[in-house]
Symmetry: D2
């Protein structure tokens, strides 16, 4: 399907503020960026680099006053995500080198502390894809989706205890639980079609059966476009700022383009 | 200035042909991609990766029949390229690690064989920027710009001997001569405003005074947008194909966008 | 000074266990590895790769039984670490691209939660090197160095609250506090001369005045050799194991070599 | 088998000369560096970095006078290289991203000009491993191994024409011919057991059947240790120098270590 997705972010800036934005989606597996628009208002110099996960990152200094970042992308994505029940656990020794980092604990994914819960969740489940699916189902059933309880410091362990969170918490928890079973997992941010209420979205991918598969504990059949990958939410903030800039407005839209 | 640049490439394909395209410009120093469009017709699966120079590369298999690749970019670039007469030679020991590779000879830049010519050209010139400017001027004066004489196998040494070439030959020669003086140089492909006749263009950059500067032996004051960097023309072909695909049409345009 | 440093690690392995070891030091700034020895007993196939921080990582599957890893390095290091009181804060917009990742919170460095403490510590201190030195001094004064209280799940926030820890906790806390001031900081593991009791050691580096400087809240004048860098302790475990292997013995030595 | 290999290189330096050395072998597939020694005399500051091929590179400024670089490595390597007649051609669309660069022509491997010769050599040969074996055999039979005819500017096309060369020419030609058939190939430098006369050695690897295989047109059954990989000889010079340093002595040894 063809999606037209975008967002407009407004900051009120009271002193020049360095920022790293991560808002330019890349073409990749089952995703082709056919159109794109990215404007800064006022227009300031910006540099782009590729981080260690392959994300395109935009560096700039936001000027005093209102600063508006607008991006829009036309993205061709698969109608359905790939699912593969029964795909086996990939032994650690067979993982590609650059996948190994996604086994380590990270800021919001204390996989070192969630092994017991993970083992309970996957009891009697075949190692691999089915374990991750069991984790996804467990989160979906046991964690209440509610705004306003978690915040930027909430990590997977807290979500496992509090049983409440938003999409980013669901994803951090899924990542942490998968990693505690020695299954590489990474955090994904992007656009989701028919998300309600509309917002930027987060989900996760797990490496089983020799490749990455998509999982989303908030949705039955997610269809969307990826913007960035990371170890967890810390790596893929839409904007990481180093100064007094307040995000005053965020508008997101995802529409299906018709022929 | 704001440029609207693009190209449309038509291949006639007689058997499925793997291709690597390098047609998606990136934002970077003094260049911001504010709009972009990239379509494949027919639409086939494509994957994008970042090569070792930081270029976005599109992999696909072109299907039998007519295959049309269209790209278009809105790019904000500086009105004038940076020039810095007198910028000193950067000693090799002070070069960043990832710049060192641009000192080595490469397919079309036999810098190991052009040292004598380079020394003649830069005689009595201060080491650094002025040497590269002297090389640029020498090429401009001594190499005839003519289509149809050089081809895909022509390298800098042949251009230095034959004294004829097109923009890619001018750039390969500039790169080779700079490197023979231990000045890092890299090949750039991109769009040039008011190029006549319009086509994709090639120029080069040299690392002096602690940063990269743009040089173009074909133009007095080049204004354009970069698509890709490489050691020489071999690294940045707009399309590298591995099968029977014939490029039957290439249309390029570069226009100034007005407010 | 020339150090002869090494370690011998014994694992008892009850089932074949994939491991990633990080025990081969690299030459780098103010450190030259002149001799090295690295043996596995029993000798099993091992592959080495470079992770995203530039560390050499050894992958292998530890076999059932006793598995002994021995490494030894002759390393030439500076007699004194570089210190530079007054070195200024490097503005975020001037940081090299690959340094930016060391501003983000990570598993053991919840910099997003330690800003208040950091501001108290550095009150009236000039931005930059002196702030990091104040953090180092504060940790040295306020955190008790004691074995057996913290464990592999202890992170900077817990150390700041409990006021007890070992070298790795001191380093994680230093990293977290520096990052909360927008100063990039990274975790270092290595060998320390005259550490008592002898063990592997951890400290940190902060990026101020345009380069990395060494800080160690446990030592007055640390002299040692680096083995690996990371965001925090999670990235640089000497051994990350994925199976039932018990570390039963760890012997470390660091001696000064004499001419 | 266990090899003890090393070299000692003496330069006479008449002005301080920046150098990049590539003399530290890395552990990797079927190769484990168990011991190593690397000394500079006089001892000067040196920095090490990893280039885009994963090689460890040592940067330094050689001082005026005699400058001696000595390296020695104990390397565990397979008794026999892997051979796999019949291993199929890997379609270009199935190659890993980072292998694609080894399909491009390079300084000493004008694969764009050797397609006709390659097709003659592999006539009636199954695509893949057997083609590369045919190339290896053809070079072995048709190129005379002789010192003193080729030099640092000799590339594959010249070797194909002149029919004379040394190991580096054999390897460059093998690489170029393989690439012209869309088989990725890379140049390897290293130590060879029982090479006569003893010297540093060069051979090549080709990617077929989903992995890299070793080929050496100079030897029936090569056994040795790799030091570095590159596109061709230009990338892996044992020393790349930028000033007046003369290599006055090179001593190389490779011995089998006995239990």
């Amino acid at each position: 399907m063809d999606l037209n997705a975008g967002c407009e972010i407004t900051f009120e800036v009271t002193a020049p503020t360095p920022m790293v934005l991560m808002l330019r989606p890349r073409s990749g597996y089952a995703q082709w960026v056919s159109q794109e628009r990215y404007t800064l208002n006022p227009q300031v110099p910006a540099i782009e680099y590729v981080d260690s996960y392959g994300n395109l990152c935009q560096r700039l200094v936001a000027p005093i006053g209102s600063f508006v970042v607008s991006t829009r992308a036309g993205v061709q994505v698969a109608d359905m995500i790939d699912v593969q029940p029964g795909a086996p656990f990939t032994p650690v020794q067979d993982l590609p080198d650059n996948v190994l980092q996604f086994l380590l604990p990270s800021r919001y994914c204390q996989s070192d502390q969630l092994g017991k819960l993970a083992l309970e969740i996957v009891e009697n489940t075949a190692p691999g894809y089915d374990q991750v699916a069991a984790i996804e189902a467990w989160i979906h059933t046991n964690i209440e989706y509610r705004y306003g309880v978690s915040d930027a410091s909430t990590a997977a362990r807290e979500t496992a205890e509090g049983r409440i969170g938003v999409c980013r918490d669901f994803a951090d928890l899924g990542v942490a639980l998968a990693r505690s079973l020695s299954i590489p997992a990474r955090f994904v941010v992007g656009y989701l079609y028919q998300l309600d209420p509309m917002d930027l979205h987060a989900w996760f991918e797990a490496y089983v059966g020799g490749r990455w598969y998509t999982f989303d504990a908030t949705q039955a059949s997610p269809r969307g476009g990826r913007i960035a990958y990371g170890r967890d939410a810390a790596d893929v903030a839409l904007a990481t700022q180093f100064g007094p800039a307040t995000l005053t407005n965020l508008r997101v839209w995802v529409e299906q383009m018709t022929g």
